[in-house]
């Protein structure tokens, strides 16, 4: 088979502190573990960039009538911050976690389509770089991350919007490919004994997420293409005289709301692994966790218009979307109590992943409850597009998704690198970050309720506006400081951290059966799968876990 294209694959064990390998090998790799790790680096790169933008925004807003940033620059920064954090930080971090872990957890040695997998990762990176390239071409996108028409038409905004369309389109194609890859991998490549009912919950959540991606991203990709046609060829899809500005909102939120669940379900999956392991108990209500995940995914497609309650579309349609949005609170609430039930009666080891999981329970409950506010139409009419939204979405995306990423990082870092992350530095990072996070965003609920709209580059010196904003800015700097502690922790642990055994947490799933880091093949052999906790069963084979 000489004529076949040679796919370079690593011949040595995977990267760890003891191996030194060239960049070229990483670039040409299609190994799911290396691609998964590269996804994390991509997320980290953009996380630092997006965080720097946020810090400069907080400096501008620290006092009333500040002139640190011009309105033009501020508008570019808040647009880029939102777009980057959602599409190029949380998505790659969570999809990358799936790419690394799903094959390991189902006892496979690769994703179903390894080349497509690498392509997805590179499309994400280049999409993000293209988006940032806009800064050099006369201005980044400046119409907000949801980019409402007709402000985004050529008459009103500059070329930055073209980069928004193209950057997200490229990354979006990568995401659709990743979704397809997950579906086929999970449905076709599990070890023979692993029925769907024995699948680890993280894999379940990735499967549901993958279907969400396949359903939701095409709507965004279509809308982006239409907007590009509008701007470059005067197609007028979203121009009010010939088309409809509201069409953009429908297409965007038909993607945008499932997107929220694309970012939270993988985090739910991570926590559903962390809670049982660190409580030394099985998950409480496995089938409820799965069923509520599926319920969330199905409802996700029927709630998009709660982003448009103030668009004046009428009480009847608002009532329908209010009902569907309220309903989504039920399966989400169920999950919170599944995790609490897992802790109940357990033997809780409060290590770093568990610390983030416990903090998540409370932070995410706050974010979830304020989410209900936006499902109740009359309250939404007051608080939508105010700072209450800013507070709410950060409690969900940071307190939910990002805490999931951090819990996952501390949990699986030993597997990925072969080294443990430092626990003491981890705790410093945790407390700085959690205190900074709450300081930044809790006060914004009140800011919104006393009338501060979101996306303003400055504000009048109303009573307490400056005080509240200053508190928020101080919190943002605490979070920034904590990120440096995290970076130092990662750097130090890779260089001289404690060596990780294959199963440092006494965990339940198959990835902990193999070496840390795993060999190229992942497994020589896999223990029999008799439940959703195959490794637990294997370690307790004298008293098999028989689902009683």
């Amino acid at each position: 088979m000489e004529s076949l294209l040679h796919v370079p694959e690593p011949a040595e064990p995977l990267p760890s502190a003891t191996t030194r390998r060239g960049l070229l090998e990483w670039i040409s790799s299609v190994d799911h573990k290396q691609v998964g790790i590269m996804y994390q680096w991509v997320a980290l790169l953009f996380f630092l960039a997006g965080g720097a933008l946020a810090l400069m925004m907080r400096v501008q807003l620290s006092v009333a009538n500040n002139r640190f940033l011009s309105p033009e620059v501020y508008n570019q920064f808040f647009t880029m911050h939102g777009t980057v954090m959602i599409f190029f930080v949380l998505m790659p971090a969570l999809i990358g976690a799936g790419v690394y872990l799903v094959p390991l957890m189902i006892g496979a040695n690769e994703m179903a389509y390894p080349r497509l997998n690498a392509l997805s990762m590179w499309l994400t990176l280049f999409g993000g770089l293209l988006l940032f390239f806009s800064f050099l071409t006369g201005g980044a996108p400046d119409a907000g991350w949801f980019n409402y028409a007709p402000l985004t038409e050529e008459v009103y905004t500059g070329s930055g919007i073209n980069y928004y369309c193209m950057g997200l389109l490229i990354a979006g194609i990568g995401s659709v490919a990743a979704g397809l890859n997950f579906v086929v991998t999970i449905l076709k490549m599990r070890v023979p004994d692993m029925s769907l009912k024995r699948m680890p919950l993280f894999v379940w959540m990735m499967l549901i997420t993958a279907f969400l991606i396949l359903g939701a991203l095409p709507s965004l990709n279509a809308a982006l293409s239409m907007l590009l046609l509008d701007r470059l060829l005067h197609a007028m899809f979203f121009v009010n005289t010939h088309g409809s500005p509201l069409l953009w909102q429908h297409l965007f939120w038909l993607f945008g709301h499932p997107e929220v669940y694309i970012l939270i379900l993988p985090a739910f999956g991570i926590f559903s692994e962390v809670f049982p392991v660190f409580s030394r108990k099985p998950i409480f209500g496995y089938s409820f966790v799965v069923a509520s995940g599926i319920a969330i995914a199905l409802l996700a497609y029927g709630v998009w218009m709660h982003h448009m309650f103030a668009a004046g579309l009428g009480n009847t349609v608002n009532a329908f979307f209010s009902a569907s949005s309220l309903l989504i609170g039920v399966p989400t609430g169920v999950k919170i109590f599944n995790w609490l039930g897992t802790m109940y009666g357990g033997s809780i080891r409060l290590r770093m992943p568990m610390l983030f999981a416990v903090a998540f329970l409370i932070e995410f409950t706050i974010g979830g409850l304020t989410g209900i506010m936006f499902a109740i139409v009359p309250i939404d009419w007051q608080v939508t597009d105010s700072y209450v939204v800013v507070a709410h979405l950060h409690y969900v995306f940071v307190g939910g998704s990002l805490f999931g990423v951090f819990a996952g990082l501390f949990y699986w870092f030993p597997k990925m690198s072969g080294k443990m992350l430092d626990e003491k530095l981890g705790r410093v990072f945790f407390w700085l970050f959690v205190i900074g996070f709450n300081l930044t965003f809790l006060i914004q609920h009140w800011l919104g309720m006393i009338g501060m709209p979101r996306r303003v580059y400055t504000y009048l010196d109303f009573p307490h506006y400056t005080l509240f904003n200053m508190i928020s800015t101080v919190g943002a700097f605490l979070m920034a400081a904590s990120v440096f502690v995290l970076l130092w922790n990662i750097f130090k642990s890779i260089r001289s951290g404690e060596v990780a055994p294959p199963d440092p947490w006494d965990a339940n799933t198959l990835e902990w059966y193999t070496d840390s880091p795993p060999s190229l093949k992942n497994f020589e052999r896999v223990p029999p799968v008799t439940s959703d906790r195959p490794l637990y069963d294997f370690k307790h084979s004298h008293q098999p876990d028989d689902a009683t």
Binding site: S70, P71, E72, N75, G144, Y148, P150, L151, Y156, N240, T241, P245, L246, S279, R280, K281, F284, S287, F288, A310, A311, G312, A319, S322, A323, V330, G333, V334, F337, N338, G341, M343, Y344, G346, S347, I348, L350, V358, I362, L369, I372, M373, I376, V377, P378, Q382, V383, D385, S386, M449, I450, G451, P453, R454, R455, T458, Y459, L460, H464, A547
Partner: protein
Amino acid sequence: MLAKPLWYHFFADTLVFSFRLIAQRQLSVLPNVLSTSMMNPAGEQARRIAQLTNYFFIAASFVLLVVTVLTVLFLYKFRAKAGDAEPKQIKRNVKVELVMVGVPLAMVVFFFFLTVKTMRAVLPQHHDRAPDVIVTGHQWWWEVQYPLANVTTANEVHLPVGKPVLVELKSADVIHDWWVPELGNKMDMIPDRENFLWITVHEAGYYQGACSEFCGTQHAWMRIQVYADSDTDFNNFITSHQPVAQTPTSPLAQTGERIFNTMTCGDCHRINGTAANGDDAPDLTHFASRRTMLTGMLPNDARHVHQFLANPQAVKSGVHMPNFALDDTSQNALVAYLTQLK
């Protein structure tokens, strides 16, 4: 007596001190914070929404309290101890799971009922009644029309107190949004759509709001100012705004009027009674009677008008007003003309 640790004293003292402040009403923060808040309603619609919001806060606080207490309690009670035996491997409990679904479902049904009820009360159908006020959003100012009285003004909205006012909301360019928290709900202004809302103000006064849909560079300086007037005050406002603009009397102001008409000012601005009939920029017929300029950005006085004319971009970056590069004498004349347009 057992010595308490330092942190205990710190928290206990803080707690006692705060309660004392609240009891003595010395905590001046609270009333001030509420002064522009949606929870300090001054109108019927805002009152109904604030009431629903209060119900929601009670329910939400209860849920948050339950989750927090359980989390902390479990962490305290079930922390691993050295030599712990493996805990009992509970996998499910149907009764608990049914409660987990049932309680949130009941709360959801309850709030859906309140949602529909409040929504219908706040935004009932208007059955083709002609609007009392039409507000049109422009980048970055508000056009305000009273079609029944044939009055047009800009940026400062006067509303009569004590009766339901039907406000029609439109946009001339991109999407804007009307929001005055003390007076009730938001409503988007979308090009080629006619949205409406009802405002029933209870108390005369001055209410602040802001455009709440991002609409471009100067979205931040698109403040809304509402004056809720008693019947006499409102009638005075209407009658004082019905006549055409005053003709200037001083020579300087007359020069100003000439400059206004020879430059292209009138292509965008309107001054009733003169040739200026543009509709793309604020109506200036009674400009000097307004308290602020540039949509709530600056106090409306000669100094600020002067500043703005000298270099619009330096005052409000991105604004669509061109820089006419006028010399000082022309500027003074224009300022004199504009500031006497009572």
